[in-house]
Amino acid sequence: MAWQLLVRRAVYNYMAFIINKDTKVMVQGITGCQGKFHTAQMLEYGTEVVAGVTPGKGGRYINGVPVYNTVSEALLNHKIDATIIFVPAPGVKDAALEAMSRGIKTVVIITEHVPLHDELDIIAYARKTGISVIGPNTFGVIVPGQGKIGIMPHTIYKPGPVGIAARSGTLSYEIALNLTQAGFGQSAVIGLGGDRVVGLSFSDVLSIFETDPLTRAVVLVGEIGGNAEEDAAEFISKMNKPVVAFIAGKSAPRGKRMGHAGAIIEQGRGSFTSKVKILSSAGANVAELPWEIPNLVRELLN
């Protein structure tokens, strides 16, 4: 309930909720290969990365960012609004709980292969404490021109009227690039994560886009498995802004996990056909091929 409340509240404070030029970001697992690389990338994009945490490696600097042993230590020295987690899967739960228990209000978890029960633990604690979790197994979030907390190749984005919510990373990059090349920038691009249990849901993100004055159309990038899209459809049917949807996995066989832990058609549920059907009848425009999306957006915005 606290979770729902938070998201509702976020609607009224859209930019602060996602990321803006003043958002202070911490990187957990900053000394690892991915942590280092993407810290540099985020800094390059203008994101204010103020601190990093790697237990046992405090005292160093990574790309000029000071590294601490604990989140508490980092918080003694910096105001921190959000954290991005790169630590290996077995340590993700601990890192996320550390950040949340010490009062960091937005947690973006990049790591994939996080155990399902750890995800349950992370999200239960986030709900209890009213904290937003994005991911695990997400590419993060970017508000073009403002900043990014994530691993997306930021050169493909530009500011504009299209909000993108996606379960998968690279596919959403593809789609964002197509949109940018067609002249449609993005108000924000948010990765939910490809796992069975993730923090933000499509409906949470759609409700933000629906209220955000800068967003004029929404692109939903879904895939087979689970019922995140079915859940989204309920919200879409009540939306005023146009929604374009694309679902990956049309040709996927049943009962096989297609890369993402969440992408599996089980007992006939979560299939491509059912998702397309429910999204269409909720009023979303479902694209058959990724490159049809810019044209659909153009039609809907005119």
């Binding site: 996080v114 590419f139 019922n227 859940d231």
Partner: protein, 375 residues
């Protein structure tokens, strides 16, 4: 990872959940001995697919001789296309009533879910919704007696059975948590002579928690040798039956690549998602797996984010230098370090595209024509 019924029942026994008297056999030897002790027995083929009963995987026997023969037969047949490597021989219970009980994860509510029904013994998907009770669980307090008790009252369970039922559900939840389960299912949960007994056991364990699985957790493999190799590399691989090998980064883009191949009339040989941040070394080995499937074409689709396109290109260059390609290779690169990647491919004379539609159309065309590619 799914566990065989007999493995699930072993875990049940360890946790104190009652199961029928029985034993697993990997050959039909010695079955007579057990059957003689139990009189009437049921012989259950150990396969991981559902609907085993309908497929003839569950048989009964009244004499030791019959039991031995039935088991022998079962061990030779295929059930739903799965070979039977073991049979579970158990006492045949006289069942008064069958319930259904399961604990699983609700991805929408993001919490564990207790599912019970008075309609046991059939697939829960086939039970009318109003006869299925679903109670979401708060992981911070776990399974408490009142939750099981409420479930029991709601399915109209006889009062005398409720304390047993409550104890059993609490143990199921402990198993669910301690073994990182995706699903713990008892169907049917039978009433026999006033006792609740787990007549079947279905347990799915989260593969991602393998690194911490308790020492007593058995391991089952439903995957091919190539799938195992891919898993050891930390990448996702699913074998399909086409002729265009696919390698890409990210589940969505890989699925989408397969969809596009189908859309243009081609047939993918596999799904291969190297995930985020794969190194040249990993990719080198991943491409070797693709080569071993003997495809007509290899199609790579990389959009660099956490994965860097120069490393992808480097891996293809290395494979070409060290092993060589006997089929056309088509690489699509875009994103992080793509320019550098394309320079590497250029140097090694590997065909590349910036846009995926052209790459797919080319791959499908080449597979159809069997023509020589960039090599």
């Amino acid at each position: 990872m799914k566990l065989y019924e007999y493995m699930g029942k072993e875990l049940f026994k360890k946790c104190g959940i009652p199961v029928p008297v029985g034993k697993v056999y990997f050959s039909s030897d010695d079955i007579e001995e057990l059957a003689a002790r139990l009189e009437n027995v049921v012989i259950k083929a150990q396969v991981l697919s559902g609907k085993r009963g309908k497929a003839g995987g569950i048989k009964f026997a009244c004499t030791p001789k019959e039991a031995q023969k039935t088991a022998e037969k079962l061990l030779k047949v295929k059930i739903n296309n799965n070979s039977v490597s073991a049979v579970l021989v158990e006492e045949r219970l006289s069942i008064e009533k069958e319930y259904y009980a399961a604990i699983t994860v609700d991805g929408t509510k993001k919490c564990p879910l207790l599912i019970v029904s008075a309609s046991g013994g059939v697939d829960i998907e086939d039970v009318a919704e109003e006869r299925v009770i679903k109670l979401p669980l708060d992981i911070h307090i776990g399974m408490q007696p009142y939750i099981a008790r409420e479930a029991a009252w709601r399915i109209g369970m006889e009062k005398a059975l409720i304390p047993q039922f409550t104890g059993m559900i609490i143990k199921m939840y402990q198993l669910f948590r301690n073994y990182d389960c995706e699903l713990v299912e008892i169907n049917p949960l039978a009433v026999c002579d006033g006792r609740l007994i787990a007549v079947d056991a279905k347990i799915n364990v989260d593969d991602e928690a393998r690194f911490r699985c308790p020492a007593d957790l058995p391991v089952t493999e439903e995957i091919t040798e190539r799938e195992r190799k891919a898993r050891d590399l930390g990448i996702s691989y699913v074998e399909l039956d086409g002729d265009i090998a696919v390698i890409a980064n990210g589940a969505g883009i890989t699925m989408s690549t397969l969809d596009l191949i189908s859309h243009y009339g081609g047939k993918p040989r596999n799904f291969m998602d190297v995930g985020g941040g794969a190194t040249t070394g990993t990719m080198f080995n991943a491409i070797k797996i693709l080569l071993s499937t003997g495809p007509k074409v290899i199609l790579a689709n990389f959009f660099g984010g956490i994965t860097r396109c120069n490393e992808v290109a480097g891996a293809f260059a290395q494979v070409k230098d060290k092993i060589g390609f006997s089929m056309p290779v088509i690489v699509r690169l875009s994103g992080t370090n793509d320019e550098e990647g394309m320079r590497i491919l250029e140097r090694h004379n590997i065909k590349y595209y910036r846009s995926i539609d052209k790459a797919v159309i080319k791959a499908v065309g080449m597979a159809a024509a069997g023509e020589e590619g960039s090599i």
